[in-house]
């Protein structure tokens, strides 16, 4: 359980003078330092955090009203542009990059009084499911140091579970918030695609990239979503948010219809994961939820669709790293082309190169129709099937990943095996629907998450039912 009270309670304590922002920042920095060996954190933003805490404490002393996150420390995944430390997306090619502006999500959190204290580790550029693709360090699972914390938001997930801050902010392209939340044991929320501005976040695959919170409770996740959601002129893919607050949850299970995706409980799923998920579903049923099993025949194709479209978009998005405008640059090049090539060869890690080359392949003439176009069409098929399913059920439910946290090094020799860790999370990404991972495993065993998905823009309904499920499953 978390060492921190709920975020709203914490902000209330700061606002009413029972607690100071400075004390909270110091507590956060102390825990980060004490638990350094988990490799959750790349570097702190301590100087700026202390300055901001001082300013906030001063304003409160003068009687000013701060905001809903007054003085609350948080940790940002290192693919968010943040002041106070370098921003690298855990990649060598961006080592030493200083953000000239902050991400919209960070600005919104700061406007409500939150304080970023550190940048968390990830698989470089978000490419991975274990943080083993980070160019700097491997994050260890808070429950077992010989295992991974999941990825790509392994740093943020471990940081929250280790109590380094009351919440972290991450990104999810194919499961990168939900899977590490499942592996490490926290709540991870992937909102509807477009609900949160991606401005100032280093792009991975733009058609599925979303931003969301990693927290200790569903209520905390709802509060953070409410702060960061909404249209942004700096991200033209953002959609209108609900007019009402995402914190006005109506937690109810009775009468809610859940569809259990049959394909996600096949024999390929680890028996412990299956047992936990089936047990959780039984509990929901006891609380009045209506459970029905259903089959989504295109779901087994989702991973193949994802590993065509995602590398295609990556190959395009990573084209900008050419060593001329920012980031690492190969100094000894004799001409521009050599500068591009050597910069990218030295600067990118193996996984980035692998994905750029797969993306280049599926987009190249002669293969475009067979791979890229075909994947886009199967994506339509998948979306249609989900839309059809949501006509008969309110939510879809299943595991987050086929296994609990695996051993460090277990999957690094086989990239395809590593990709299979995303098999249950990529569908929601391709369809653009909200999805949450909530912890369900019994104490003593490795954490396992329960995944609940809802139709596009039903974020409030999803958070409401997740809060009800959290109460039953705790």
């Amino acid at each position: 359980m978390s060492d921190w009270p709920s975020i709203s309670e914490l902000a209330g304590q700061v606002q009413t003078g029972k607690q100071t922002a400075t004390a909270l920042v110091e507590k956060s920095l102390q825990i980060i330092s004490d638990k350094k060996t988990y490799n959750a954190i790349l570097w702190t933003t301590e100087k700026r955090a202390r300055q901001r805490a001082k300013v906030i404490d001063g304003k409160i002393k003068k009687g000013e009203s701060l905001g809903r996150l007054a003085g609350v420390p948080f940790i940002a995944k290192d693919n968010f542009l943040v002041f106070g430390a370098e921003t690298t997306a855990a990649s060598n090619i961006l080592k030493g990059f200083n953000a000239p502006y902050q991400a919209t999500a960070i600005e919104k959190l700061e406007a409500e009084g939150a304080i970023c204290v550190a940048k968390a580790n990830l698989d470089a550029f978000g490419h991975g499911a274990s943080t083993e693709n980070s160019d700097f360090m491997i994050t260890k699972n808070p429950h077992d140091k010989t295992r991974v914390a999941g990825g790509s938001s392994g740093g943020p997930a471990a940081a929250v579970v280790l109590n380094m801050a009351p919440f972290a902010i991450g990104t999810d392209t194919g499961g990168s918030i939900r899977q590490p939340s499942s592996f490490s044991g926290c709540v991870g929320y992937k909102p509807t695609y477009g609900l949160v501005s991606r401005n100032g976040v280093i792009a991975m695959a733009s058609s599925t990239d979303v931003i969301g919170p990693l927290t200790s409770s569903v209520a905390d996740a709802a509060l953070i979503l409410d702060v960061i959601a909404g249209r942004d002129g700096l991200d033209s893919t953002t959609v209108e948010r609900d007019k009402s607050s995402y914190t006005k949850l109506n937690p109810k299970l009775k009468g809610k219809k859940f569809g259990v995706i049959k394909e996600y409980l096949s024999d390929d799923v680890d028996s412990v994961v299956k047992k936990s998920v089936v047990g959780a579903i039984t509990e929901l049923k006891k609380s009045g939820a209506e459970i029905r099993e259903l089959s989504l025949s295109s779901v087994p194709l989702a991973l193949a669709v994802y590993y065509i479209l995602c590398p295609a978009e990556i190959s395009s998005n990573l084209g900008r790293y050419d060593g001329q405008r920012y980031g690492y640059s190969y100094k000894e090049a004799r001409n521009l082309e050599e500068s591009y090539k050597k910069t990218r060869s030295v600067g990118f890690g193996a996984e980035a190169k692998r994905r750029i080359m797969i993306g280049t392949y599926v987009l190249s003439s002669g293969y475009y129709d067979a791979f890229y176009l075909k994947a886009q069409i199967v994506r339509t098929k998948l979306i249609n099937e989900f839309n059809e399913a949501f006509k008969s059920v309110d939510f879809l439910i299943g595991p987050v990943a086929p296994t609990a946290a695996f051993k460090i090094g277990e999957n690094t020799k086989d990239p395809l095996k590593m990709y299979l860790s995303d098999i249950m999370t990529v569908a929601a990404s391709l369809v653009g629907i909200p999805s949450i991972s909530i912890p369900i495993s019994e104490s003593g065993s490795l954490p396992v998450g329960l995944q609940i998905m809802a139709p596009q823009k039903a974020d409030l309904e999803l958070l409401s039912v997740a809060k009800a499920a959290e109460a039953v499953l705790a």
Binding site: P100, Y101, S207, S236
Partner: protein
């Protein structure tokens, strides 16, 4: 699907502007072939005359007013990250040799 040849890998690397070491060529030849074989499972799917999906928001041609907005980002902050500059401009290597 045929496995990638060494030449295929070199051509991809050339298109992607990446120089590969001998070890990387060998490694990627196997790994990328394996991944492409996996994703080729889509070959057997019946497409039912469906249209491709580019994006999921349904937003089309999002416009904003054609006015200058001051985001408070200075040229100095941007140039600060540039590997080589000359007279406040980005300096690059020669393009012709």
């Amino acid at each position: 699907m045929a496995r990638l040849t060494r030449d295929d890998v070199l051509k991809l690397a050339q298109l992607a502007q990446i120089d590969l070491s001998e070890d990387e060529i060998k490694r990627f030849q196997g790994e990328i072939s394996e991944i492409l074989e996996y994703v080729a499972l889509l070959e057997a799917v019946n497409l039912d005359n469906l249209e491709p999906t580019d994006q999921v928001t349904g937003l089309v041609s999002v416009m904003r007013d054609d006015t200058i907005i001051d985001y408070g980002i200075t040229p100095a902050a941007l140039l600060n990250n540039v590997p080589a500059t000359l007279n406040d401009q980005i300096k690059v290597k020669r393009t012709l040799t």
